[in-house]
Assembly symmetry: C2
Homo-oligomer: 383 residues x 2
Amino acid sequence: MKSICGVEGVTATGIKEGRYGLALVRAEGEAAGVFTSNLMKAPPIRLMQERVRDGRLSAVMVNSGCANAYTGQRGYEDALSMAEIGAKALRVPAGEVGVASTGVIGRYLDLPLIRDQCGRIASRLERSEQAEVLAARAIMTTDLTEKHALVQREGFAVGGICKGSGMIAPNMGTMIALIYTDAAVPAPLLQKELRTAAGRTFNRVVVDGDMSTNDIALCTATGRAGKVDAKEFTVALEECCRMLAVQIAADGEGATRLLEVTVTGAPAEEDASTVARTVVASPLVKTAVYGADPNWGRVIAAAGRAGVDFDPDHVNLWMGDGTARIPLVSDGAIVVDLAKAKALMQGKKVVFFLDLASGKAEATAWGCDLTEKYVEINGRYTT
Amino acid sequence: MKSICGVEGVTATGIKEGRYGLALVRAEGEAAGVFTSNLMKAPPIRLMQERVRDGRLSAVMVNSGCANAYTGQRGYEDALSMAEIGAKALRVPAGEVGVASTGVIGRYLDLPLIRDQCGRIASRLERSEQAEVLAARAIMTTDLTEKHALVQREGFAVGGICKGSGMIAPNMGTMIALIYTDAAVPAPLLQKELRTAAGRTFNRVVVDGDMSTNDIALCTATGRAGKVDAKEFTVALEECCRMLAVQIAADGEGATRLLEVTVTGAPAEEDASTVARTVVASPLVKTAVYGADPNWGRVIAAAGRAGVDFDPDHVNLWMGDGTARIPLVSDGAIVVDLAKAKALMQGKKVVFFLDLASGKAEATAWGCDLTEKYVEINGRYTT
């Protein structure tokens, strides 16, 4: 297995017809969710915020092609109807069906299509690699690759699928992550753990804490593996979320390279995170990465405007490709070997390590380069 | 006259040789300045922050081609030397010479070249349209057009030149504005007025309050026109700054269209400004403007994540080209006529009017579209 079907108690399936897809995942258990902080919340998000408070889900269904966003009261009722369609097909209480939508905004859900697709695939739910791949593909929109993560530990597993590829700040490319574990974790603790893990992973890709109208990450704990070590679960959940987050960054619209920025020597983790996200979001850094230009000045200047206090004249900066790394700036002095640095930027991954020399905290953020292709994709979206 | 030479008591000149230019402006009087808020401040900025506290300038010199940024203590001494070169050539006290630099960062000033250029042009200072054009051209870097503004009022004038064209957030394309007035305004008041005007104009182009390592706006009041009505001066200064700010936005790197966003119905001006700047900075809005796509959803979604409280389901949104305007969203309902809206987006200017329906304050921000050309320019800067 590659992802959710590696978790005990989870079955899945999916269908994709043109731009319209539907994924079904059946898994009963304690549940938690984190949601977009955008004021313009799509109706399914509002519904799920209420539903997650009950702390229990039996199934999740996600449609792609229509975001059911900016659709008002009718959109909310449509989200309810979508959950009822799933409940009937899977024979579970409608109140325990999670729903999420992604796609074009300002249009109503095509409920007859969703009913038809759901009816055709509900009987195909199974626990297999093929099934989790079908589900992961069904939720893709502008994604070029399906996204899976599976973290296996002694006695339990955490697995997830996700979609998302609009990766420049501000991000409007909806991120949807469905995460499962067979560890027994009570809903309130699961909620706390998911919030922390998402803060350190998804929210460091979707820069500026900026999320679309439909962003959602749901986690269901089936409990089939029984109680597990709390610390081990925390680490495993964060690792699963990070694996998914990195895949979203690498699949950024038009991206040719993954950009990873690790900030160390910060006064607090929040400071490190702010600086890392600011650098990763900088169009000038992103275009430099695209052009394989080891532009240390743009990195330090982006850090300098992040609102965190440090002395730019005493920072250390390295650059790497995920394996090797070389110094660019050492205690404020420029030490870059331009030819070597350029050579290190030719691969699929560029990593900056920035030591602020102002403390002991650190954080990592992920993004991608900014290319002509991004402009092309987003300049011609509705036309 | 088009700009600074329309102000009594101002003479100017400039020279541009390849990428290296030098502008000289001679004008004695009370002086004020606003500076980049980036922690990574170039040495000439640090020098000018000290010098402006004295409240008096007799001349300003600006070199282009080298930003004298990230150059440490030697950079600071070089900035002092540059001022001394100007002081000697113009026979004014070195402490009353303002200096600013723009260009490549991480390199030392070429002082012999600056001394040579200064020596050759100092005797050519004059009050003429040709002179102000030479000065405006001398400070250009990636700018495609020279930038002038002149506001004439009964009895006094405010004029300025500026450079700047790196226009996407985060902006690293240095903005330098030299503003002059013949109104008699004491330095402390001038400082206050300049800060307010810059906050409403330059800081609404250079989005997120985000400025480069070298951004500076200086204003000198020669007093030749004597005392003027305080309110009239405030309005004239802001108008001059706005005229310059709009030219910077329109000359954004790779831009094909000026983007103007006016937010009304906000609880406070600061809120309106935050929302307007967030919309103007949104890559998705910018690419939509490039693609002539009347994407109301991206505008409202960008507003929704600005951190200002309003109800997205009750906003009003219009779009125009600077003359005509048509509604896109009315009290939360989508009312756009797509064909008409697309037709309105074919010109050099696209304006969005967003009424948050949550108060009485308003603000305007300026930017430009995001094009493949921007990526090309910034992806191949040092290579």
